[in-house]
Structures are given as structure tokens and as C-alpha cells.
């Protein structure tokens, strides 16, 4: 006969308000196999846990049921208490009479009856629980960081400084991300390049960082502590070991008229290029789509001029497998496209703003390039159409953001601040110019942020007009902005020389595909989801994968860097141990019964099922059966549901237990 203790929690009044906890205790105390049942105001408190520990000793309990909240809340707490009292923690189960009962019912009689049922079947389950030992798996103490924007750079540096190897994978030819494109940064107006490039150089020189640029993630397998990541190193056509970064090739390349994406297509670059002069690494890449040698077979100038002979037209993509124990995803963001709506985009686009057809209507990032000392105009703000200095500039905020009718309901968080910054940068460069801003609200929480915005309005004389813009059109060499000022209640029309749209921060195109490779979840806008909005803001629900920066949602640099360091700290915490302890709630195969159909192997979402050969003493193969690698198994139970002969079962959730629970009702 079992000796089970039932501990019923009032949860303050959360449970006892609707459930008659004393009655639950009285009734369940009489269940066969139950040695003691008692109720207490807060089971999870110290005195509550002590009640449990004392009862285990006094009544020699061999199983414990805590009827309280969801196991997600306190299962660990009570299992630890059971362990402290000398009981195997896996002989302690939660009966959820809060979320599953008191919170969702009103009728006290019925709720009490249901609570009794829940305790009853949990008692049946505990009776058939097995004592389990935790599973330990070794940890590969190397981290992968995906994305070399400021988020990825910060995370990589922190982890590397802690003494661990880091593999940093960046899709572009250089690290830097969006921050490398910015001119000066709010709220302090320090030059973005100046604070960014030293960090980029640190990455390049760090002995613990292995940098793969012009590379992408091909495949990810494994699990926390033991991932296998296949990296595709795209053919660069330049041997990184030989190249000295002298840049002769770029100077001599005859094909120079290629739109420079880094400069938002305002300038041009050669076919062999680095995106910007401070690029890390400083090794160029050949843009094969635009290179004459690749298109026609003729040319080959770069090969001839390259002193160290680093040019290699025959280079192929390379696949490299990197074992890592943790992954930080820092793949950043894209901006809302102000041009025509791409066919597969879920977003509406801005027909009323000319769909990007008016050359002097640009987005904020393009303005950053115009204002940047290293930009295509050398830091002079000149408008794209005719290179004239714009004397009237209209900034429009919330383009795409907070526009439910256009498909995005969230606030992009950074645009109020950077638009204020833009008006300042503009005023600093063109003293007699006038900036106008159309805005819905000014959202400037953050240290010194509101002060910064006020400065734009009060000292730098930007005219803020609260209202929306309904239309933009070209009139001669002006862009006419038609909007409304809702505070005054009038229509406004401004003939602008340049219009800057603060377009929404969006998830990366293809962010969903990367997420699918990693097995992490994402929201309906394709931003990656954290495990808990408040308490686990940098962890993914998938163990061992962490988030940093704008890939998780719109963020400015301070927030991005904080999150990156937090993700790095999580990785370091993981790496502080040599072995990872995992819950032993894993599937086990009954090898005698298993027919080796491997249906379980086919359905297992974790790739935990392997084949195992059973041989007799003479080494003859008797049969091949399934084997569940306990280090990999996620305990989802999919195999159990699939196995036609019921030869694989999840500990703690065996068919026998489930049937016993049903029978208890």
C-alpha cells in the first residue's frame, strides 16, 4: 500500500475563495493509499514547505501530491522540498486546482467536487510514478552568435572576454549592421562610427572569436549544450588569408557603377568591394552578379593587380560544422519598404506617398547616410534629385508603425527619437533651413530622452505639427506635403525640398526561415519570441538559445547593448557548469516489444530517436530497435502517441498512469 501525502494550498484566497479546501482535505484523506491530507494558506511559503517535509518524515511518505497552482509555477519548488525531505523529487506531483479549477469556476460546490477529482487522479498517477535520477549531459563551452550588428558584437565580445570561444556568423561581407550606417546617435549625438569601429576591431582581433562574414546558417541540430551548426561560407572569390586589404583591386575594377546598398543606393561601388572603408574584415568580396569576369569571362583585372595573389575566381561555397553549446540570435531588423508593395508582403504600402517614386522622398536611414561624414555626400545634406541643399525639410513619423490599416499595429520605438535627432543634425548643417515634423505623439521615455526631444523643439526650432499626412506629390522641384494639424484643426500644406519618412522597424525578411532552422518561435510580425515577456526577456522557449537586439522587437542602441550583455550573461551562466542537469522526463523504449518500425524516429521533433542493434552473445543481429537519447529527448511524448505497439513511453506519463488517472474518475 502506498503512503501518499496530499497537501492542499489555499493560495491566499485564490483557491479557497471558490474551493472548499478543508473538504478536499477531508475527502482525499480517506482515499486508499493516502496517509495524510492537510491544507494550508500558502504551501509554497517556508512554513508550508516545512509542513510537507515534516509529514514526509513523520508519515514515511512514498509519494506527494501538492494540490495548488500550475506545475509551471511551483513544481520545482515542491520537488526540491520533497528532495530535501529525503524523497525522490519525481515522486512529487502537482494537482493544479488553481488554473484548472478555482480560477475558471464560480460555483463553489462544483469547483470543490472537481478539485477532489483532480487530487484523486493525481494520487493515482503518483502511485505509479518511478523514482528518477536527473540526466546529465556535457556542455560544449563554445557559443554561436548569429548576426554581427551591435547586438551580436556586444554579445560576442562579452562571452569571449569571459574566456569562451565564440563563432560569430554575419551574412554581409562586414560586421557592423545598421549602426555602421548611422551618422550621430541619440541621445548624446556621438558619432556612430567612432563608437562602433573600435568594437568591430576588437572582434577581429579577439583570440576567442572566430569570425565568419559573408556566411549564413545552413542547418542547426542538437540541443542545449550540444548544438551542431552548419555554416555556409559563401564564396568570396578572395582568399582571406592572402589578402592584405590594400584595396588596389577596388580602385582598379573597371566595373564601378553598381548601386551601393550600404549608402542606400545614393552612391556607387565597384564589383569587388568592401561595403564601407572601416569594414571588418577588410577583405573585399566579388559581387558575382555584377562582375564582368563572372558575366562574360573577360576582364580579370583584379587578379592581375592583386599583389599577394589573393583573387580566386574558382572559390566555392564551403560548409563548416561548428559544435556549440549555446546560441545568441542577433539578426537585427529591416525597415518598412516605402517603394511599391512587394507581391508577397503582408503590408499595404504607401500609395499616398508615391510608393517611393518621388526621388526627394527618402527614409530615415537614407537621411543618416546623407548626414554621415563617411556617406556619399561626405556629410553634406544634399537632396538626391538635383544635389541641392534642401531649405525646407518635412519629417513624417509613424510611417507604417501604429498603422493597423497598413498591417502593423506596434510602435517602432526609435523613430520619435531619431527624427528629433535628424532635425538637429539638419539644423547643425543647414543653419537657415527649417524642419517640420508630422507626428502622432512624441514617445520619449528613457534616460535623457525627453530632454533630447525638447531640445529639438525648443532650441533647434523644429516645428512639430501634430497630425497626419494624407498625400505627397511632386510639383516642379518641390514635394508638396498635404497634412492636417489636429491641435489647431486646420489643413496644412508645405512645399518641401526633401521629405524624410520615419519608416517602421520590421523583422528581417526571412526571419521566419532562420527561426525554423533554430526551432524558435516568432510572433505574427516575425519578431522572435522571448520565453516570458517579463521574467525571461532574453531566453527563447527553446533551451540554450538567447535573443539580443532588434530581432526580438524594435530597439535602440542602449537597449540592444543591454540585452546583448544579458544574453551573454545567460550563456556564461550556462557555461559555468561542466554538466547540464536535465529533467529526466524522457521517453524510454521497451526493447523487448519494440518492432523497430522506427515510426517514433520519424516523428520525433527533437531527433532524439536512434537505431540500436540487439545482438546475441555470438554477435548475431537479433533485431534493430529504437533507442531514445535521453540527452536529446524533449519529453514531448509524440513518439508515445505514434508507436503502434506502445513500446515507447514517457516517464511520469506512461499509459498505465494515464489509464489509472482516467479510472480514478
Amino acid at each position: 500500500m502506498s503512503r501518499i501525502g496530499v497537501f492542499i494550498c489555499h493560495c491566499g484566497e485564490n483557491i479557497s475563495r471558490t474551493v472548499d479546501v478543508e473538504r478536499v482535505a477531508q475527502v482525499t484523506a480517506r482515499l486508499p493509499g493516502v496517509a495524510i491530507a492537510l491544507d494550508y494558506k500558502y504551501m509554497c511559503s517556508d512554513p508550508g514547505q516545512n509542513l510537507l517535509k515534516k509529514a514526509v518524515a513523520e508519515h514515511k511518505l512514498d509519494g506527494v501530491v501538492v494540490a495548488a497552482c500550475s506545475p509551471r509555477m511551483h513544481e520545482k519548488t515542491f520537488r526540491n522540498a520533497a528532495r530535501a525531505a529525503g524523497l525522490n523529487p519525481f515522486l512529487c506531483e502537482m494537482a493544479n486546482i488553481r488554473e484548472h479549477c478555482s480560477w475558471v469556476h464560480e460555483d463553489r460546490e462544483e469547483a470543490t467536487a472537481k478539485a477532489i477529482d483532480i487530487v484523486k487522479f493525481t494520487v493515482s498517477r503518483v502511485k505509479k510514478d518511478r523514482a528518477l535520477a536527473p540526466i546529465t549531459v556535457p556542455i560544449t563551452k563554445r557559443a554561436l552568435v548569429i548576426g554581427g550588428g551591435i547586438a551580436g558584437i556586444q554579445a560576442a565580445l562579452d562571452i569571449a572576454d569571459a574566456g569562451h570561444q565564440v563563432v560569430l556568423v554575419e551574412r554581409e561581407p562586414s560586421i557592423g549592421g545598421h549602426m555602421a550606417q548611422l551618422s550621430e546617435t541619440f541621445p548624446t549625438l556621438d558619432c556612430s562610427q567612432c563608437i562602433m569601429t573600435p568594437k568591430m576591431v576588437d572582434v577581429a582581433n579577439h583570440p576567442n572569436i572566430k569570425l565568419y562574414t559573408w556566411s549564413e546558417i545552413e542547418e542547426v541540430s542538437g540541443y542545449i549544450g550540444n548544438f551542431q551548426v552548419t555554416v555556409r561560407r559563401k564564396a568570396r572569390s578572395v582568399d582571406e588569408d592572402k589578402c592584405t586589404g590594400c584595396g588596389v583591386c577596388m580602385a582598379k575594377c573597371p566595373q564601378k557603377k553598381i548601386d551601393n546598398a550600404f549608402d542606400r543606393n545614393l552612391g556607387t561601388r565597384p564589383a569587388i568591394y568592401v561595403p564601407f572603408p572601416q569594414a571588418v574584415p577588410n577583405t573585399p568580396v566579388i559581387d558575382r552578379d555584377n562582375c564582368t569576369r563572372f558575366k562574360t569571362g573577360k576582364c580579370g583585372v583584379c587578379e592581375k593587380v592583386c599583389g599577394p595573389g589573393a583573387i580566386d575566381y574558382g572559390q566555392q561555397d564551403q560548409l563548416i560544422v561548428e559544435p556549440v553549446g549555446a546560441i545568441v540570435v542577433a539578426s537585427g531588423f529591416d525597415l518598412y519598404n516605402i517603394g511599391p508593395k512587394p507581391a508577397d508582403s503582408p503590408y499595404e504600402g504607401y500609395g499616398e506617398f508615391g510608393y517611393g517614386a518621388i526621388p526627394d522622398v527618402i527614409d530615415g536611414l537614407t537621411f543618416e547616410r546623407l548626414a554621415s561624414a563617411s556617406g556619399p555626400t561626405g556629410g553634406k545634406i544634399l537632396r538626391p534629385s538635383d544635389g541641392k541643399e534642401p531649405k525646407q525639410v518635412v519629417f513624417i513619423q509613424c510611417v507604417g508603425s501604429r498603422a493597423r490599416e497598413k498591417g502593423i499595429s506596434y510602435c517602432s520605438k526609435i523613430c520619435c527619437m531619431y527624427t528629433a535627432k535628424h532635425t538637429m543634425l539638419y539644423k547643425h548643417k543647414i543653419h537657415d533651413g527649417q524642419a517640420y515634423v508630422f507626428f502622432m505623439d512624441a514617445r520619449t521615455p528613457g534616460k535623457n530622452y525627453d530632454e533630447f526631444w525638447r531640445r529639438a523643439v525648443e532650441e533647434e526650432e523644429a516645428v512639430y505639427i501634430r497630425g497626419m499626412v494624407s498625400r505627397l506629390y511632386q510639383k516642379g522641384d518641390k514635394v508638396v506635403v498635404m497634412g492636417s494639424d489636429v491641435l489647431v484643426g486646420v489643413q496644412v500644406e508645405i512645399e518641401a525640398d526633401l521629405v524624410v519618412l520615419a519608416t517602421a522597424v520590421q523583422a528581417r525578411t526571412g526571419a521566419d526561415l532562420l527561426a525554423q532552422k533554430l526551432g524558435i518561435s516568432y510572433d505574427r510580425y516575425n519578431f522572435y519570441s522571448e520565453a516570458h515577456a517579463k521574467l525571461k526577456p532574453v531566453e527563447c522557449a527553446t533551451a540554450g538559445i538567447y535573443l539580443a537586439g532588434a530581432c526580438q522587437g524594435p530597439k535602440d542602441i542602449p537597449d540592444t547593448v543591454s540585452q546583448a550583455s544579458a544574453a551573454a550573461a545567460k550563456v556564461m551562466t550556462l557555461f559555468a557548469k561542466d554538466q547540464l542537469e536535465r529533467e529526466p522526463i524522457v521517453a524510454r523504449v521497451n526493447e523487448r516489444n519494440c518492432a523497430g518500425c522506427l515510426a517514433c524516429k520519424k516523428v520525433c521533433p527533437y531527433g532524439a530517436v536512434e537505431e540500436k542493434e540487439i545482438r546475441d552473445r555470438n554477435g548475431n543481429l537479433i533485431k534493430t530497435v529504437a533507442y531514445v537519447n535521453p540527452g536529446v529527448c524533449g519529453g514531448c511524448g509524440t513518439c508515445q502517441a505514434t508507436c503502434p505497439s506502445k513500446s515507447v513511453e514517457l516517464d511520469g506519463y506512461t499509459d498505465e498512469q494515464i489509464m489509472a488517472m482516467i479510472e480514478a474518475l
Binding site: R592, C594, K602, P644
Partner: protein, 315 residues
């Protein structure tokens, strides 16, 4: 019932000489395979004790290859002998097996389920005009009148993917698909009528498990339905347990059953099991475009998850 011969048209489907020729070629091939040591055994058919019948045979000696035959009486699906009934055979080395089109589909399915490996098999395909239905007078030649129901709508008469195919079939007449017609009749019923139909049929089940024993896909070491801790299906032949058993059988075979209809042939109580199999096969085809056993697919539709899977059935 559907496997029972339909008693009308008695025109022979193929000439007697066809079977003689196939049998000859079969014997020559079997003798060659055994004497050259290509295989250690040939699984085929030999003459039964009663005239006009045939039964399974395993030949290991080239001298006895002339015991092998092929005729319309060769009803058994020999794939079975590679899984449970004579499991030991599979361990002895490469094996040759005589396979009709429907048997070949079972072999392909078993390969996909890791039960056998293609490289361990030498498949001797035989072009088949159909086999006798149960109750057919074996002294008469095979005709539309005594053909098994499943063969009336067979699409795999000439097996594909075998190592060798013996025989070339003469053009065969189009026959009315009696099983499909019966299925249509059932589908036209109201759910209550259909339930009554199956209840009546399953009520007769005596739980001899002949259907299970003869099925090449029921190769589990211990059937779920024989378990008692916990007991999933009541073991005594009572209505509830019978119903449960037959639902389990149908569900476990969905997407796998190759349509050989051996279960129905073996059933002493004449329960039209192949109707259920066909129904499941049709659902699988309509829902997932899957046909069991055409090629050894790595993952069948019921063990695969795709983002674009049809989910309209979730209501």
C-alpha cells in the same frame, strides 16, 4: 464477402498455358539463383494437397526448385514470411521472393518501415491476372465469375521494381469494381446506418486474430491488443472490444495497408475487412495524395508534419 467469387461470367481470363509457361520460367530462375548462390532461399508457392490449390513454400535446394508453381490459386501474400511467421528465414542471407503486384506493394511498405532491406531481397515479380476468390471451384479456370473481388479493380497486375518479372499478360477485360461499388453503397448510408452495418459485422468477430496473423504489416512483437498493463482493448469477443479491435486495426494500417486483402480471405466469419482498408486508403489519397507501397517512401503521411498540411478536419 467481396473476396468471394462472383458467380456469372465463366470465360477464362488467361489460357492454362500461361501458368505453365510462368511456372517453367519460375523454376528455372529459382534453380539458377539457388545453384549460383545468389540467394539462400526462395519463398514461393507449391501445389496444395487438394487439386487446384496452392500454398506457400520455402525452397533452399536447387534440386527442389521444380516444386514451385504459379497459378490463380497462389493467393497468399508471401511478404508475411519475411516478417513474423518465418522470421528466421530473413536472417540466413539474401532471399528470393515471388511477388504479385499487390505483394510487391507490401514489400515496399515493409522496406519503408525498416523491416526488410531491398539489398537483402531478390524479387521475382510475376505478372498476375488475378487470383481465385474464396469459394471458387478450383477445377475451373480463372474467370470474371470466380475472381477475387480485390483483383477486379487491381492496378498493379504487372509488378514494377522487381529484379525480374516473369510473364506478359494478355489484355484483360474491364470488370465492374464490386468493392468500389460496395464502398459507394456504404458511403451513401447515414452514419447511423453505417454504424449498424459495422456493428452487425463486428459482432460476428470471434477474435481468432487470423486477420492479424496473416497481415504483413501486423509485425509487432506484442500487439497492443494483447497487452494487459494497461489493457487498451478488451480481449474477449464481446461487442465493445470487437469494435475497438477493428478500429485499432484499421487505424494502424491506414497509409500502410497495401491492399492484398489477406485479412478478409483469412477471416472465418466473412467480415468485409478490405472495405475498411480501402476506405482508409482512399482517405489517405484524398487528404495527402499518398498511396501505400508504390515506392518505399521514407516517411508515410501519418508520421510526417508539414506546415501546409490540410487542417480543415479540425473543427
Amino acid at each position: 464477402m467481396n473476396n468471394t467469387a462472383q458467380k456469372h461470367d465463366a470465360t477464362p481470363l488467361v489460357a492454362e498455358s500461361y501458368y505453365a509457361a510462368v511456372t517453367d520460367a519460375l523454376r528455372t530462375e529459382a534453380a539458377r539463383l539457388l545453384s549460383e548462390g545468389v540467394v539462400t532461399a526462395v519463398i514461393g508457392y507449391k501445389e496444395g494437397r487438394r487439386h487446384g490449390t496452392a500454398g506457400p513454400a520455402i525452397v533452399v535446394d536447387p534440386a527442389r526448385a521444380n516444386e514451385l508453381i504459379f497459378s490463380a490459386a497462389c493467393v497468399n501474400n508471401l511478404a508475411l514470411y519475411l516478417t513474423k511467421a518465418k522470421k528466421g528465414v530473413a536472417g540466413t542471407g539474401k532471399i528470393a521472393i515471388v511477388a504479385k503486384g499487390c505483394d510487391l506493394r507490401a514489400l515496399a511498405g515493409l522496406m519503408a518501415e525498416s523491416q526488410i532491406r531491398r539489398e537483402d531481397l531478390h524479387i521475382i515479380g510475376v505478372a498476375c491476372a488475378g487470383v481465385f476468390g474464396s469459394g471458387a471451384d478450383r477445377r475451373e479456370p480463372l474467370s470474371a465469375g470466380n475472381l477475387a473481388g480485390k483483383c477486379r479493380e487491381c492496378s498493379v497486375g504487372a509488378p514494377e521494381g522487381a529484379d525480374i518479372v516473369i510473364g506478359t499478360l494478355p489484355p484483360l477485360p474491364e470488370l465492374s469494381p464490386v468493392e468500389a461499388e460496395e464502398l459507394a453503397r456504404l458511403e451513401a448510408m447515414t452514419p447511423a446506418e453505417r454504424w449498424a452495418f459495422w456493428k452487425e459485422n463486428f459482432a460476428r468477430c470471434i477474435r481468432c486474430f487470423a486477420c492479424r496473423q496473416v497481415c504483413p504489416f501486423c509485425y509487432c512483437e506484442q500487439c497492443l491488443c494483447d497487452r494487459n498493463r494497461p489493457q487498451a482493448v478488451e480481449t474477449t469477443p464481446r461487442p465493445a472490444g470487437n469494435m475497438a479491435w477493428h478500429i485499432v486495426r484499421a487505424m494502424h494500417l491506414a497509409g500502410r495497408c497495401a491492399g492484398c486483402a489477406e485479412c478478409e480471405r483469412a477471416c472465418p466469419m466473412d467480415i468485409p475487412l478490405n472495405l475498411l482498408n480501402r476506405k482508409m486508403a482512399r482517405e489517405l489519397k484524398e487528404l495527402y495524395g499518398h498511396e501505400a507501397g508504390l515506392t518505399p517512401v521514407e516517411k508515410g503521411p501519418l508520421v510526417i508534419y508539414r506546415e501546409d498540411d490540410d487542417q480543415s478536419f479540425i473543427k
